[in-house]
Symmetry: none
Subunit: 157 residues, 6 copies
């Protein structure tokens, strides 16, 4: 979910995605479940099979440290996948990712999850560490994706 | 005005906007008045009717808190509007905004102003808090806009 | 080198650049020599003629202050130039740069180097100061470039 | 190697291990290669097959962040294994570990390595984060192991 | 609960206690309820009669200051007692405690609770202040106990 | 003296040492003179012949720097020696030391003193730097010793 919606009534108006010419531009996505209006905090907040694939160990001390970034990474990339598919494309149509982190020590964990979503040719990527993202400091990562879905159905990617 | 010009003679060379194919790309814009080479600091630095529309109360304590972010937000979005119109488009042609803040507590005020400039379908949007922007720490916000102005005049936005 | 890459072997999961439609999108580039896996730290890490053009003085105290940002700026922009040329374009095809700094006091030095790479019409530009970039705190700058290389060979840039 | 030896000539005298009754007590072990007198800093400082088993990704930015703790954890546990085997026992004879960390965010990575060395019944374990260990701040972890090797060859562990 | 454990399911890779020869070694114990996976934060998280014995006053300001360390101390020592009893011993068989604190200002409160669990001859004791323990900074104390339960049933403690 | 006694009347109850099976376990010892209830602060607080052997120079600037750690190290190790001898053993029966420092820069000085107390085969040793020890920040070091004094008088150390 884009991070500009809060408190039920959207605080800000935004478009999750916009088709422009042959491109699909997405708003930055963060790990907030819009239905429950909750920030994804760990493995308990994502489906079990996703948690298993991410390497949930069952060890409380390991999972409490790794869980938040792994779960948020999965949630954000899966949300992007859903948006792309809703627009008639697939994850492999995403050619560019700009990734904002609160702490770049989280990059290896995020990268592991990204490999699951991009098993083929990876997108171009920019990664920076920033001070914060909306809506609160519990958000560890924000990803802005751009996809190429040429009208007429052909692609030179 | 883009933040790379300082001290009269541009310290850096930049293009405020560039048309590329069907797109119009803009440099990040900050609230500095190039003519007077002054940072917009409050309601006094923008036209009265804009200040009224933003909700200037006339009360010192309220206006001094909200004034800077409201005035800078208005100034930046209005500068973007002027650039787009100069290129033959309109504000509604802007489909994407990347917004950099020094303090995300300012987001609600900025968002209120943005609604004034985008009364229709809003653009896709990415928002992050960063450490600083040029030219000084008085700059609270920088906005990088992208518009779609297809040659030949038609649009599928 | 993009900051997600490796030790030569193509085991990294990023694309340095991707051609999409008429555009060439590049990953953010940082000053790391992928072959030697070393961060560019000063004039000694770039070719002599480049160092001379950047104004290496030979005085230890001056060069140690300015050397890192000048050398990293040169390295990054030269890497971008090589990527563009490898894709059949030239530096003047770059129309947009997003530049991330760890310290905006470095901007003037970077800007001096950028003028060397863009002697003609400059690109649109966004500049922000962020907390950090990969892989370590020795990285002072990251630049994400976008170029326009229309298929069919014509250009309206 | 125990952390009390520095600069060639041992600064301190210590015993790497001592058999006492039915027990084998070990000094705290840190990741310093005594022969080369070098601190283990990453995957390059341990055997390739060990690095592969630890999950070296080949991605520079991931390996530079994860490499140090994974490599030091492997090195320390492998050193403990060698000491135990030299005394006629095996790793499964270790029944207790006291583990000192400089940063408990490293615990999940260490725990992953420990599982490789203790595939059967795990030892009792105490984990704390301390300010520092000898010889320098590059040391991320120190492990003090105790094993049970009853004379006479029987065991009630 | 030892600080490496989990959510009930025995997927954790540690042993709460191990009998070795005539000794019973315990992992460091912290105040986390494994069933509910919750950190003990105050009097509300322990049984009422225990809270009364610890001197709960009912006054918010007093209980909020002393409650956390008193409740965690009780929880940890009671967990140790349960482990010892499960192994066929009693609290007085514990002859050694190593106690790690995040803040030694908490020692007097902990000591008051320890007297309740060791009314007879006290164990040998080592006390230090460290930077942190798993799983989070809410943990104030960790206690590693060792007991003597000679096989054959005699004891010279 | 163990660090849990303060203010004359022991604040905490502890046992300085306990014989358990063939072992003698000691509480962590710190440099506080129980009779005078004073922290050992320098050469003046230990016997002259001990100070001479430690290398007291008579020069104020040298002795004020090295005096505290040398005097506390001597005091702690001598206290341990006295406890062991009281229990019928000798210093060489100590096979293990866990040494907690407030500042590892003090290790070389401590190690020099330790060599005086262990001229023969040294014990196994673990050394860490922690935040603090009881009773105050003037305590620089705490040492927890374990000795092997098999009943029946024979020893396989």
């Amino acid at each position: 979910m884009s991070n500009e919606t809060t408190n039920g009534a959207p605080l800000a108006r935004y478009a999750a995605a916009k088709r422009v010419g042959d491109f699909l531009f997405l708003s930055g996505v963060i790990a907030v479940d819009p239905a429950r209006r909750m920030i994804v905090r760990g493995f308990d907040d994502i489906p079990d099979e996703a948690a298993e694939r991410l390497g949930r160990t069952g060890e409380f001390s390991s999972d409490i440290k790794q869980g938040p970034i792994l779960a948020q990474s999965w949630y954000v990339l899966d949300a992007i996948r859903q948006i792309i598919e809703r627009e008639g494309g697939q994850m492999s149509d995403v050619f560019k990712l700009v990734q904002y982190f609160r702490n770049l020590d989280h990059f290896p964990a995020y990268s592991q999850v990204r490999r699951q979503f991009f098993p083929g040719e990876p997108p171009v990527s920019t990664v920076v560490e920033v001070s914060a993202m909306l809506p609160t400091d519990d958000i560890l990562i924000e990803v802005e994706a751009t996809a190429y879905l040429p009208l007429g159905g052909t692609k030179e990617s």
